[in-house]
Symmetry: D2
Subunit: 270 residues, 4 copies
């Protein structure tokens, strides 16, 4: 019969961190050897992927995380953080309520992009030309009138963040720091969408960060996690700013504006 | 009478980000000028503090954020992230449930340290010697048998993270990158506690990151927010690892171990 | 051009509650006419569904909500609540971290049951016999080796909660308070599963509450919401109890038991 | 040496629920004896307090929970739930983000009321007249210009919910179902505030539910938990309604209204 202590000790197992009194090793490295040597992005990668990150690839990850930190107080995640900050909860809770809504729709676009890029890449690696691979993967989206994440933007005709990220990635590919396969796929999707929709739908921040994550081998679900880390910065900044501005139990619109009631009137309870 | 559109537009106001179609400025800087130029830590500082960060000060902030990312799967925040990952919610939700508990006790130690350091510093700036200032600020803690955050550790006699962080901070002070005032205060508290308690209570990770935050002028509440950003990395890494390990609706201990019921038995409902 | 005040006032619209100074109407009823007249379950239904609930149907909903409140400290949602309560956050935050994980796997079983029951019911209403309808809906689950929610239980051979709920529902059907269609479907699925798997897989709490929700016309996603309301009670009770027991930053297992590290050792950072 | 299995089994202990295969007892009662016998409020009380609730007292708790379910889409908790519902997260997560902000300010007013009532009651039980007890407890609030929770309301001159709750409580006291001590204290505070502030500050929903909780012996922190259970109903109803209305990544104000940027312009990154 198994030793129950052994069973309990094996219930939680990890390859990330080893802790003994006076010793903390991260992925096998004594933590004091990493502090002051790794930057925060290198540490993020070591923690989630378990590897060191070559400088050129680190710079791309840095750029992606920098680019996605914020999109203003009308984004639900940011708005939630600001309202929470007026409700007498700590910054940790304001941040939690906010990052919680970076779900399939608000934060998951990048995750779905990664899935699409991987599907195109799989076909390309098997010999298909990119335009045909894109057609095969994206035709069902158009047929079912499904939103294609990563391209176009409700607000920006051209997303300045995506333009810069793609340029940095192309330069890194030119230096052989990344393969460049996914830049080509992203460009291929842009071109195909332009033909299909008779309008330009340039890559947006989700599509561009997904190109970088794909170049680095980040699986789709983890891509969402990295986006959350990035957006947490904007969430913290806005929650903190709101704390400084004051306000108490602040709702979404001024009280004088109010809301519309469209339900029944004058019901009696019999 | 005020223009109500103007009132609604002024309901949410910020100095962090300015967005127009095709333009995103962070603290006045076009974001494409920051992507590929600022690293993630410089971006964090620009977002929360609104300023650029000198390289030496950036390196200290980097070190603090790297040092605090994780303390293993028995920390409630990490454990919550791992259990949540087995419940069919996205990484964003696993992360949210986890960072939510970095409250006064689990994550707020650094925040309280900052308050203590500020109180000692205030007295020191007014002419009091550090030992006297420390005595004045911390005597009430001892009298009320209150836990003094930042010093001592349930597990580590000497916290390797704190040792390294203090060394880096002292070196930065020697280069005039920071004042060094708070290193002296931290050392002063260590010494005073040693006298009072007849046992060594060296600075721990909370006390050491608080020294760095204090040197950088970070207010206490924001110190907690920065700790949350750091710990989010460990939370993401563990949630992601658990996703890869599998497990479905995983509880805290193995089912075979169970829990202890200590309530009434055999009640009938009359 | 539209009046922008009007646009802002129309941005949030609801049929649930109408508030003017001194007046609060819920679905058209002055709230003071409901307080002391409706019980909490009748209020829940009025709020979510906008209708009054006949007494027999209210009693079934009451039974479902009572039955699902708790399944002990090894359930992740309950464990998270207890650990959070030791971290210096308020009960609201302990509850939030916990209910957040009642997702597709931990709390969504009932939602998926409702979808299955609706699919069987649709076919039955179109003239198909229940066994054939069940075969058509559930065969793909077996083929893809997918878990069928609502039947069987990791722990209970016979779930005492499901037995009672089904009995109450059958009695209500006998009194014409509900149609009884979904009791028949639930029984039909039990029978079919018994044939397929050569083992008894009786309905569990998720399957039984889903029968009641289906009889009441509750859509699947809302069924998950009602389960969350119910489980919130257990979450609150356990968080409160843990607060009374004490404990500070309590992890999933005793420190002496620890966890298993299975990653690399002795790495040097070059 | 202690048996480590025993240690692990004793790590989590509870008096709430006892689970064996085929058996679930709540506070010692087989759950199937409670389903169909206890209403939801009686179950809530049994779970959190461990006792049965006499019918008159149950009716008061029922009334309090019914009264506090909602205060409209401009309340941050409700607004957060609605915005979250447009972000592709499940109802459980929309609810979690929302209840998380029922903190010291937004949901904790009732908790602070309970503390105030207890302080007045302590003095009254020791022989002090209510007006003197109120003066002693509340004078420091006025001196420090602190908000006194439970009385007055930003929106309602007279809160219809509080009027009804107090009437029900007075009637219950007349029937000896509760002592009525806290109704007297509440009235005493109303009177004292009227004298001090030269304006009427009638009891609001927080003050009135706190009277009921105090009559039932609910400790302050648990009072907040019960308020959260109640408000969860409004949160669920609004999140569900928003799901039905549609909307995708919906922010706090219409995009055409926007927000005000008040930060620096035209910075260059040197």
């Amino acid at each position: 019969m198994a030793d129950p202590t052994q069973d309990s000790r094996a219930w939680w197992r990890t390859s990330i961190i080893d802790i003994e009194p006076g010793r903390i090793d991260i992925r096998g490295y004594p933590i004091q050897d990493l502090i002051g040597r790794l930057d925060f992005v290198e540490m993020i990668w070591l923690m989630v992927a378990g590897e060191k990150l070559a400088p050129g690839r680190r710079d791309l990850l840095q750029a992606a995380l920098v680019a996605a930190v914020d999109h203003g107080p009308l984004a639900p995640s940011i708005s939630i953080a600001r309202m929470a900050a007026t409700c007498g909860v700590g910054l940790n809770s304001a941040m939690a309520s906010a990052i919680n809504v970076l779900g399939d729709v608000h934060g998951g676009a990048g995750q779905e992009c990664l899935t699409i890029y991987a599907a195109v890449d799989e076909r390309q690696q098997a010999g298909m030309a990119i335009p045909d691979a894109v057609e095969q993967v994206l035709r069902p989206y158009l047929d079912k009138r499904r939103n294609i994440p990563g391209f176009g933007h409700r607000f920006h005709k051209r997303d300045p963040r995506a333009v810069k990220l793609l340029a940095l990635t192309e330069a890194a590919a030119a230096r052989d720091e990344v393969s460049g396969r996914f830049v080509a796929i992203g460009r291929g999707i842009e071109a195909w969408l332009g033909d299909q929709k008779k309008t330009v739908l340039p890559m947006n921040i989700d599509g561009a960060t997904a190109v970088i994550f794909a170049e680095l081998g980040v699986p789709p679900e983890l891509g969402r996690g990295l986006f959350v880390l990035s957006r947490s910065v904007g969430i913290l900044a806005h929650a903190w700013e709101q704390t400084q501005q004051g306000g108490r139990i602040k709702g979404p619109v001024p009280p004088a504006v109010g809301y519309t009631y469209e339900g029944p009137q004058n019901k009696t309870d019999e």
